[in-house]
Amino acid sequence: MSSLPRRIIKETQRLMQEPVPGINAIPDENNARYFHVIVTGPNDSPFEGGVFKLELFLPEDYPMSAPKVRFITKIYHPNIDRLGRICLDVLKDKWSPALQIRTILLSIQALLSAPNPDDPLANDVAELWKVNEAEAIRNAREWTQKYAVED
């Protein structure tokens, strides 16, 4: 019986008409609240060259509550755990209904450029990022090549 709010329709249209560079979000054929997302690794980051798949779901009370977003592609990042869950304030207590799918995905892209090991989710990754950043970045590059680069 549920219907799709005008806001979701409008956001979807705008994402198609004016896509964000390096970000691709396409609604699922059968569920307009579920988006297949691709984020390319930012230049000058250990994720450069990688193509990362994510899933984004707009809950029933969106935009009063935040979209649920998860990495599907494995990624070595201090704020993303092995299940792909993302530690990002705008997805939690800093969510505001004035934010949008577009702004959230831009924040995630920015998180790839600027990992924050002081606010970790994947603890062992964050630990290494703090004590030996060079090695952590090497790992991140390796994982990017291994899991996020298509042959």
Binding site: R6, D61, S96
Partner: protein
């Protein structure tokens, strides 16, 4: 007075340029042009928070249920603001009686009287009524409602016990106001004849 008006519309560059005359007067500015950052439609019963940011009255009311802060800048929404909101277009304009069709309008029951539905919802219900739909589902103030056109009831989908009677009646009947904006209430904002 409201320097933030332009920035509050970060998603729509065309509207922010039309708001360039902000220094002169609000009367040159039509709230219909303004996209509400919550519903992404032209703002309906546009309301300006003390911080200067503008939203549909029903949108900011829906937001405040979850979080009493401005969605744009996170400043607190004062406790009684939504009982006496500051309207952009003035109270008389907002409460103007508009029969959507042959002199009728849609109403929902409140304490001691009937509220007129907001214009957007009213048009949607009328469209369903004209199509002989039994039920239509609408989004009002951040909630989903089933409007049952056989029983003439509205019910909140997330809480079906919250039911109200509805009716289609003449636009001229006595009513309480529009969508929670009371006709009795005359805040200082009614100085804009922008309609």
């Amino acid at each position: 007075m409201s320097q933030q008006r332009e920035t509050s519309n970060g998603t729509d560059s065309t509207a922010s340029s039309t708001a360039g005359a902000q220094e002169s007067a609000t009367s040159s500015w039509n709230s219909d042009d303004f996209e509400c950052p919550v519903c992404l439609q032209s703002s309906l019963y546009a309301t300006r928070l003390p911080c200067g940011h503008v939203f549909c009255f029903l949108c900011i009311k829906g937001v405040a249920v979850h979080d009493r802060r401005c969605p744009m800048c996170r400043s607190a929404i004062p406790p009684h603001f939504l009982d006496h909101p500051k309207m952009i277009d003035g109270h008389q304009y907002n409460c103007a009686r508009r029969g959507t069709m042959d002199g009728y309008q849609w109403y929902y029951e409140g304490l001691n009287g009937w509220w007129q539905y907001d214009d957007r919802t009213s048009r949607a219900i009328e469209a369903s009524f004209q199509r002989d739909d039994k039920v239509c589902v609408l989004h009002i103030s951040g909630q989903e409602y089933a409007i049952d056109l056989e029983q003439m009831m509205q019910a909140r989908l997330s809480d079906p016990m919250r039911r109200r009677r509805i009716k289609r009646d003449l636009v001229t009947i006595p009513n309480k106001g529009v969508a929670g904006l009371s006709i009795q209430d005359h805040p200082s904002s009614a100085n804009n004849t922008n309609a």
